[in-house]
Amino acid sequence: MNGYGGSILRVDLNSGTISRQPTPAALARDFVGGRGFGLYFLTREVPVHADPLGSENKLIISSGPLSGMLIPGGGKCDWTTKSPLTGGYADASMGGHFTAEMKYAGVDSIILEGISPKPVYLFIDDRKVELRDATSLWGKGAIDVEVSLKKQYGEEYQIAAIGPGGENQVLYACINHDYGRQAGRGGVGAVMGSKLLKAIVVHGTQSIPVADLDAYRQAGMALYKACKDSDGLKDWTRYGTTIVVSWCDEVGALPTRNFSAGSFEGGKTLYGPVMREQIVVTDKGCFGCPCPCGKYSRMKRYGTQVEGPEYETIGMLGSNLGISDIQDVAQANLLCDDLGIDSISTGGCIAWAIECYEKGLLSKTDVDGLDLRFGNAEAVFAAIKLIATRQGKLGVLLSEGVKRAAQKVGNGSEKFAIQIKGMEQSAYATHNATAMLVSYMTCDVGAHHNRAWAITYDLQVGRDRVAPDKVARVIWLQNFRPMFDVLGACRLQWVELGIDRDLYMPALEAITGIRRSWEDLEKVGERIWNLARLYWQREIEDFGRDWDLPAPRFYEDPPTTGVTAGQITRFEDVQRLLDMYYEQRGWDANGAPTAETLERLNLTVVPN
């Protein structure tokens, strides 16, 4: 099949049985790839109410038709599972080079099921697929494992691995790849750890069939030329996502001390140019990318190096923890990567614990004797290690995410547990940015930013406005942006370099032989969005409107400092936003897709 690796690889870890089936053409037509494939298999194959960390849950890794192709940013793959953190749908996108090798090995999706009787890693080398003993790797950091396996097999072999966080099933454990890229959110690493699967090694040499080679070359070159000609290329290459730090600080969106404010008095030392000057050694790109936004940094004080930190990590492990030294943030980043826990959720959990400690809701004994205060980097490093190893009272408490931790501690701590649907909110303070707030509230995995990054729209049209156009903007972004995760390509080239999105369509047609338009793909995106909603409803008995509410901090607790001092979104406006959103989506007042909506989207039965 043009544009695809051609097979679905199924690995039963219970029995060690490995099989391949051809990728169904109807699946490619209806769900395209990546996140679409993942949700399709999750919905069809994982039993209702399966234990996320049990044998019935599956971890599905999928590439898309643009993955591994000569398309700017064709290095994305998607990891889908039932989330142990939220109990709902989890989907994490990962850059790097893994997806290209996977596709060159002829694989569109890897479906991992069951639980291995002993630690193993999956070895894929073209048609050769084996489970190999990982006893000697168990307990090692994810970066150490990658170094070790690359040494054994060679640099052309791509590795995805979990660290101790995944082994210990920390509910927001991540999967690490290419030393500093992650499938980060929702606990995909915990699911991999629950299966006793330490790593995946992949290498392939097969060609991907394309429908029209000349047209593919031309369309690919047009995309690369557009990137090269972009005025934004120089700055995005120089600073990557750290461009956002100073801007967020200026507009009051930089999470500060557990989202109690949106501007940080120590923020300037975290800005992109400061980081570039102080710690960045070189730039790093993913497969086929002309805009290497990743940064390798060296922390001289610690004698260490890391890929990063990215904006999200600077926000969540820097300002949100009151830390203003970029070397400290980068060191915390390294610990999270190697230990294999999501830096966003980790920052959210520790910030909440610090606030609890400072308010007297956690005692010195509860925090294992740490001087757990905002700005104390050493205490943060210690807390990260406790979480990843599930040691100490603090490590055990925080390893299950901030929602569960707050339910245990109580005493009002739920109000400043910054999460939605059980997922810790990523690094945008939304006290007064109503489109971004509704984006977080309705995101299909929990409080994550990348589906609909609408905060610029807030600033363009009035940040406190509560109006249908804001909701419409969020819905359009939610339908459209995740399609990059379906196609298997990075969205940065479109969204930040500003290249014309229509340039992708000739490439997609030349590769697959099927003419599609963005309007067509947005319909696929809408269908996927609604199917994810159905998944949440299916798995969680009381799922509904209350699950879409933000942390009370954003409607009850205005910042006292910074440019958003005194500003919140009133609770009645939060509810109005939801009303508008449900109406525009074609959902009922409790957030369930109506029968008419399901019929329009051909979702009245589980897709097959």
């Binding site: 972009s230 005025d231 934004g232 700055d235 600073y239 996502t241 461009i243 956002v244 100073s246 801007w247 200026e250 507009v251 140019p273 990215e310 904006y311 999200e312 926000g315 690094a427 945008y428 930013h449 990348n450 990054w453 905060i455 610029t456 600033l459 363009q460 969205r491 940065l492 969204v495 930040e496 370099l497 500003g498």
Partner: protein, 74 residues
């Protein structure tokens, strides 16, 4: 007494698709943006003669200024 202002990405929409404008020197970047109808808060990065500056920087003659918005996030 002019400087050159380059608008990157979506900021071009504020200038009818044009990416390069000649603007008076002597004003701050912020004042210049307001004069062009560009909300200063949507601009994430100001680079003057290849050095990052803040929006209160006063434009000098023959400065080449690049302003960049973010629409995708971190």
């Amino acid at each position: 007494m002019t400087a050159t202002l380059r608008l990157v990405g979506p900021l071009k929409e504020y200038a009818n698709g044009r990416s390069e404008l000649v603007v008076p020197s002597g004003l701050s970047v912020r004042q210049t943006l307001v004069g062009l109808g560009i909300p200063p808060e949507v601009v994430a990065l100001v680079v003057v003669n290849e050095e990052q500056q803040n929006k209160d920087y006063i434009l000098q003659e023959q400065d080449v200024v690049r302003v960049l918005a973010v629409i995708g996030g971190g």
